[in-house]
Amino acid sequence: MTVSAFVDAERPFLIELDAFSGPLDLLLHLIREQEIDIADIPIARIADQFLDVIETLGLNEAANYLEMAAWLLRIKIQVLLPRPFDDEGWEDPRAQLVRRLLEYEQIREVARWLEGQADLRSAQFSHGFVPEPPEPEPAPIELDLQEVLDAVDRVLEAIPRRVLHRVVPRPLDVEGATERIVALIEDRGKLDFTELFDDESRITDILSALVALLELARIGRVRLRQRKPFGKMGISDGPAVTTG
C-alpha cells in the first residue's frame, strides 16, 4: 500500500506503510528524505510532519506512534522555551532524541549486515539439508450469517438434552467383610486368607476383605502372619503382627 503524504507542500513524497518497522523508522525516513542534519533537527517541522503522516496512514491509533508524537511535541515546546542566560548545564531538548535515532540507525545497519550474511550462508547447503516447513497461511474464513447460525445449531444439537445421573453401587463392602471376618475368627480362632473366598468371589469381595483385614490388624483385632512375600497369609485372633 502506498500513500502519498503531502507533508511538505513543496516536496511531496511517497510513504510506504509496510516499509516502517516503527515510529523511529518513520522519523528517520522523514529526516533522511529531506536531508536534514540529524544534529540539528528542525523539531517543529518534523513534529508536524510526523503527526500528518501518522494521521494520513491511520497510524495515529497505534500506541507506539502516539507515544513518539507526544514526545516530539514535548521537545517542540521545550525548544521554544527561552534558554537560560547561563548556558552551563543546559542540554538541548533534542539531545535524547538524537541519541535514540543514532542508536536505532546503528542497529539498522547491523540488521542489514545480518541480512547479507544470512543471504550468503543460505547459498550453501549442508548434507541432508532439511528445508524449514513453509509457514501455512491461516485460511481466511468466509461465512455468511446463515452458515454461522447453522453451525451453532449443529453444536447445540450435539449436546445431550438430558444429563443422566447414574448411581453407581459402592463397589467395596468393607463393613460387610469386616463383620464376616470377625465372625469367622470368633468361630474358628484362625484361618488362611484364601479361606475367605470361594469360586463365587468377585474381585471386589477380595479387595473388600483385604481392606477390612488391614484395618482389623491396625486396630489390633486380628494378627496377620505372612512368612514370605506373596506367601500364604494367616489370620488369627489378637494384636497385629505383619511379618513373621
Binding site: 541519541r99 546503528q106 539439508f129 509457514e135
Partner: protein
C-alpha cells in the same frame, strides 16, 4: 588422506549440523586436538585442491561440509532444496539488538526499537535463533535473551566475535557532548 582424516570426513558427512572439535575428539580413543585440527586441514585441502562441489566450512564453533556457493541457484532451481525463509526487517532489527546487547531484556529491546517486540521475540525463539539465557535482578526479574548456536549457523559465523565491531559501522554513536548545546 590418512585414516583419521577419512574418519573426520565421514563424521562431518553424517552429522546434521556443525561439529565441534571437542566432539570430533571423541571419535577415537587417545586422539588429541592438534591431530583433529590436522585431519580437518587435510579434509579442507582435499576438497579445495582436488576440486569438489562441497567444501569444509568453519561455522558456529564447529565444522560443517557445505555445498559451494556457486551451485546454489542450480540446486534450488532443480528443487532439490529450498532456501530458508528470509527474516523480516523487525526480526533482523531485534536479532541485531540481542546479538550486541545480550543478555538483554524485552524492555531494553523495545526501548531501542520503539515498538513492542513480544511476537517477534517469540518467532525468533521458535526458529531457534534466540533463547532465554537468564533473569535480570531488576524489578519483576524479567527474562533475559541471548543468541543461540542456531543464530551463528544461520549467518555462517564462526562465533560472536565475527559480528562487526560497533566502531566499524558507518553510523557512529556520537557522545552526548557532541549533541550537547548544539542548535
Amino acid at each position: 588422506m590418512d585414516r583419521l582424516s577419512q574418519l573426520v570426513e565421514a563424521a562431518l558427512f553424517s552429522a546434521d549440523g556443525p561439529v565441534s572439535v571437542n566432539t570430533l575428539c571423541t571419535l577415537e580413543r587417545d586422539v588429541t586436538k592438534p591431530e583433529i585440527l590436522d585431519a580437518l586441514d587435510n579434509v579442507r585441502r582435499q576438497y579445495a585442491e582436488a576440486g569438489h562441489g562441497v567444501e569444509l566450512v568453519e561455522v558456529a564453533e564447529g565444522f560443517q561440509l557445505l555445498t559451494r556457493r556457486e551451485f546454489a541457484d542450480a540446486i534450488a532451481r532443480a528443487q532439490l532444496v529450498t532456501r530458508p525463509r528470509r527474516l523480516s526487517g523487525p526480526a533482523l532489527e531485534t536479532l541485531a539488538i540481542i546479538a550486541y546487547r545480550q543478555p538483554v531484556g524485552r524492555a531494553e529491546i523495545e526501548e531501542i526499537r520503539g515498538v513492542s517486540v513480544e511476537s517477534v521475540l517469540r518467532s525468533l525463539q521458535d526458529r531457534g535463533l534466540v533463547d532465554v539465557v537468564g533473569r535480570s535482578e531488576g524489578t519483576g526479574r524479567p527474562l533475559l535473551y541471548g543468541t543461540t548456536p542456531g543464530f551463528l549457523e544461520l549467518l555462517g559465523l564462526r562465533n560472536l566475535d565475527e559480528l562487526p565491531r560497533l566502531e566499524e559501522l558507518s553510523v557512529a554513536l556520537r557522545s552526548p557532548e557532541d549533541v550537547h548545546g548544539m542548535g
